[in-house]
């Protein structure tokens, strides 16, 4: 057996261990340990990606070498490896991009706990990406919830505490529904491994028995995970949580945590039920509809915000809508668009949040539009990154956001007439709205501030590095879009097998 096959498991387990060590180290040491481990994780995930692409297939890793009905499995294919690689890279850059804020926002002597939570979050995200067992997915969903709530509440103002409480309550409602889905499905099939459930579900579906329970189960999974990933109309907790947290937390929550739950949902659709049954059950029609509403309402919400971080948070609601529209498209092409959007948004939004953190730095810690006027002149690298990110969100060619819009419209054209018209119209309106709120911000940050000419301050090395790396990632995503889309498509084909 190749050594590479152990890497996914090692990344999950050692991230947990790394979190434990961070809890007892001094802040500086914890930071270094966390970053070194994340870099190693990135290298491992990249080698897994290369390995699976060469193999052109997926492999199953059995925990403790127990076979299927007893053992727990993780399953790795190109899509999973691609997500893991992107997530670990974005995680490192988000931490670097907001490092100053982590140390200044956190209570004295508790900074190391931030890195504990970050390591736990990585571990749970990787487990969600790789796991082949539904109950394991539930356990890691909960770990993910706790870690992400802890990341929000780190800045202990009253407002953050309230945002965390609301976030936690909504998340718990979501995981309750998700667990109920798993329990009923276990009651029907008696299995927990995804492949075994898929076999039984197909048999049961063919006989026509249990059709109502199956629909209900799909509904529980969809609603539960939609609440956790802030699909419209369950998004009310998101702007508060993402808007009031420290820069790195907002970046990580928006870029990675929301995506983790969506990956679980895609897994459930593909690997547990199979696309055929999902199409027959028509539950995804609702996901499509709510996705469309999220695209519009999220953008309208962002348009009304005067606080830059809350604006970015509302934009995340709209972007999550794009993912759900892809999922609800009822086709392979739609799923490809959803996965591409997951990746594109995870290389764009963290950059915007970190840049917004940089603007707050040079504007005396304030974050309304009026306060950050001219911030792009004082913080040049942040200004450049924000411009790249904003153009990507609007959907200018050669940036990541364009690839999404392209694949999504292609998927829409291949779909049935009603869906095509609705989806195309929504993409058009949403693009227009995106431009309406992102372009003025670009003008705002580069215009002259009221109190005369401000001189550029020298950016911190880690911040500048993170911003440049994000820009390279974003443009690279746009330029090599064809390869990425092909890899995602192939990965999805292997995903369903």
């Amino acid at each position: 057996m190749d050594l590479v096959r152990n890497f996914p498991f090692l990344t999950i387990v050692f991230s947990l261990t790394c979190g434990v060590f961070c809890a007892i180290l001094r802040p500086k040491a914890a930071k270094n340990l966390c970053l070194v481990w994340l870099a190693l994780t990135f290298a491992m995930s990249l080698s897994v990606l290369v390995y699976t692409l060469r193999l052109d297939g997926s492999f199953v890793y059995r925990m403790g070498k127990w076979d299927a009905p007893w053992g727990n499995e993780i399953r790795v294919g190109p899509l999973e490896a691609l997500m893991a690689t992107a997530f670990s890279a974005v995680m490192i850059l988000s931490l670097l991009g907001g490092m100053r804020h982590i140390f200044s926002d956190c209570e004295e002597g508790k900074v190391n706990l931030y890195f504990t939570m970050a390591a736990l979050l990585v571990s749970s995200l990787f487990a969600l990406i790789y796991t082949n067992d539904l109950f394991t997915a539930y356990v890691f969903v909960e770990i993910n919830t706790i870690a992400s709530c802890a990341l929000v509440m780190l800045k202990s103002s009253g407002r953050t505490l309230v945002a965390t409480t609301r976030y936690l309550i909504m998340s718990l409602l979501g995981s309750g529904l998700f667990l109920l889905g798993i329990v009923i499905l276990y009651g029907i099939t008696g299995e927990l491994l995804m492949e075994s459930i898929a076999g039984k579900v197909r048999e049961i579906f063919a006989t026509g028995e249990y059709s109502l329970p199956l629909t209900v189960v799909i509904g529980f999974f969809s609603v539960g995970l939609a609440v956790k990933s802030a699909l419209f109309p369950f998004h009310s907790w998101l702007p508060d949580a993402h808007g009031s947290a420290t820069a790195s937390s907002s970046a990580i929550l928006s870029g990675l945590v929301l995506k983790g739950y969506i990956i679980v949902l895609i897994k459930v659709f593909y690997r547990v039920f199979g696309l055929q049954i999902i199409m027959a059950e028509r539950v995804s029609n609702f996901l499509f509809l709510f996705g469309i509403l999220a695209m519009i309402c999220g953008s309208v919400g962002a348009l009304r915000e005067r606080d830059i971080k809350r604006m970015l948070a509302y934009s995340s609601v709209a972007q999550v809508g794009y993912i759900y529209v892809g999922i609800g498209m009822h086709s392979e092409a739609g799923m490809v668009a959803a996965c591409v959007q997951i990746l594109a948004h995870c290389v764009t939004k963290p950059m915007l949040f970190c840049a917004a953190g940089g603007f707050m730095d040079v504007s005396g810690g304030k974050k309304t539009m009026a306060d950050i006027k001219g911030a792009g002149r004082r913080d040049r690298v942040g200004g450049a990154a924000f411009t790249v990110g904003a153009l990507s969100m609007v959907g200018i060619p050669f940036f990541a956001g364009f690839v999404t819009k392209l694949t999504l419209t292609q998927a829409a054209v291949g779909s049935d007439n009603v869906r095509m018209i609705i989806a195309l119209a929504a993409v058009a309106i949403s693009t227009l709205l995106n431009a309406l709120y992102y372009i003025p911000v670009i003008f705002n940050i580069f215009s002259k501030p009221a109190d005369g000419e401000a001189h550029a301050s020298r950016p911190r090395a880690d911040y500048a590095f993170a911003m440049c790396a994000f820009m390279v990632l974003n443009v690279g995503f746009g330029v090599f879009s064809q390869q990425i889309v092909d890899a995602v498509r192939r990965g999805l084909e292997l995903f369903g097998m």
């Binding site: 109950f135 539930y138 356990v139 909960e142 919830t145 706790i146 709530c149 802890a150 509440m153 202990s156 103002s157 009253g158 407002r159 505490l161 309230v162 965390t164 409480t165 609301r166 936690l168 309550i169 718990l172 409602l173 309750g176 529904l177 667990l179 109920l180 329990v183 009923i184 276990y186 009651g187 927990l192």
Partner: protein, 127 residues
Amino acid sequence: MPELLKNLFTNYYETAAVVLFGIGFTTLLMHRNLLKKIIGLNFMDSGLYLFLAAKGYIAGRLAPIITNGDTDPEKYINPIPTGLVLTGIVVSVSVTAFLLALTCRLYDKFHTLDIDEITYLARKERD
């Protein structure tokens, strides 16, 4: 309709479990008092565990603990749901602890447990 009622009565464990889940869910979602929300969360989780435990029970069999060297699987109930319940309890204990800690901090800061009032006060704090 009688068919449905009969099914509900035969599977009374599951019916009770889902009713419990519903009570907990609505309490967690709707109640304004944070402590009652936490109680609702525990109701919800207990309902789920009852459902799982009821699914794993086979009438007339023993708990899957071997004491007299008898390894015949026909004598014992299905141990997997019981294991899942234990894992689930661990998870729900930890989220309950987290939520209680959060509630303590909120109470220290705002001297109330009413989530609407706390939200209102927190908004005012910033402006």
